[in-house]
Symmetry: C2
Subunit: 229 residues, 2 copies
């Protein structure tokens, strides 16, 4: 039994070690990397597309998209004319540091400022694997329901900011924003929260401001000095 | 290395062995068990509630609800006056046969006809673990988007019927039903498909008919003779 545990510990530590290497490479290149996590269909790709379109004159942006199969998401990002790499996990339910390690050499890091990483659609497993990015962001969405912080606490605890997407359909769903926010506040007090709609653009500016502030802090700290929360 | 593989095989085989025991117990009691899988917030609990309300005069029904935390779902089912057991997985991303094994003794199996099992909200991991139920059903939903069969093939391949919930908000989303169905048809040809809305009740009758037919076939086959697809 102790032998099995040792193997597991070695695997976890290998992932964390690889995450540190990713982080060092991103820091050296001056690329702020943000990991977006969400349920299937919450709007991660739509958020990346809206962000690219809004910030492409301020930042040189690229995307990495994780999915079990297909290159649908990376194709959508690449269609905007920015570099995009698709990671197919072959069935695995999350991205890990090794997968991101394999994607980085396919990107022109020296010519980038911002890397948006789209994790596999899953509200549970991705929170358990460090990638070596600088910030982790949760994309919640109105149709999922207001009880998700209570039911999926691990994901809500581990992120640096949170979006609530699809606000344009709020009236069509029984979604109590106060109940939702109380759940989040218990798990992650003071978490930055951005209700928005990637479809209409409503609320997007507050998210973009957060991202601009993070990018400024990252530049000011010279990459490696940037605090990981 | 071979030692590690052996451990994994033994764990998988233990789950399958436990699934067979669950199946035997359900067969002996004459309880048809259906496992509902879906993304977070697709409407599994709402479907169970609508099904209980529609069929409670025909069948004696109970529910088992899987979640990482809280008893929100089981409480909702129990409020209808039917037996409901909550399984908290403690962080695990799916139900397995051992968890269901622990729940069965808490149910009055001899007094039941139908057991509706709600898996953890996750479009990936639950498809890899047999529970020992008779049928597996996927609850898709319109807001998730029409590309999900392409991106999460494993889940779509392993089910016996599929619902598309939240049809009442179809007009608010860019959801191409033909594209969605083509993806499903590639993975699972001829799969029974029920577009519906648990909120309005639209389309619910076709799903109830399917469930009635399965219950009749189960009774006619005397439990153990009921084919597992």
């Amino acid at each position: 039994m102790s032998r099995t545990v040792a193997v597991v510990e070695r695997i976890l530590s290998a992932n964390d070690q690889m995450a540190l290497e990713n982080r060092s490479e991103l820091d050296a290149a001056g690329v702020l990397a943000v990991n977006l996590m969400a349920s299937p269909g919450a709007g991660k790709t739509s958020l990346i597309m809206a962000t690219v379109e809004a910030l492409r004159d301020e930042f040189r942006i690229a995307g990495v998209d994780g999915d079990l199969a297909t290159s649908i998401d990376a194709d959508r990002i690449a269609a905007l004319g920015v570099p995009a790499v698709q990671i197919n996990t072959g069935g695995a339910c999350h991205l890990d540091a090794v997968m991101l390690r394999g994607a980085l050499p396919q990107l022109p890091l020296a010519e980038l400022d911002l890397l948006l990483v789209e994790n596999v659609g899953n509200l549970i497993c991705p929170s358990g694997f460090r990638l070596g990015v600088h910030r982790n962001v949760l994309v919640a969405s109105v149709p999922e329901g207001d009880d998700k912080p209570y039911k999926y606490p691990g994901m809500y605890q581990g992120v640096d900011s949170m979006l609530l997407n699809k606000m344009d359909v709020l009236d069509a769903f029984d979604f109590d924003i106060d109940y939702f926010r109380r759940g989040v506040e218990i798990l992650n007090p003071g978490l930055a929260f951005f209700p928005l709609s990637c479809k209409t653009g409503e609320g997007l500016e507050a998210w973009l401001s957060w991202l601009r502030d993070e990018a400024s802090a990252f530049r000011a700290a010279g990459g490696a000095g940037y605090e990981i929360r």
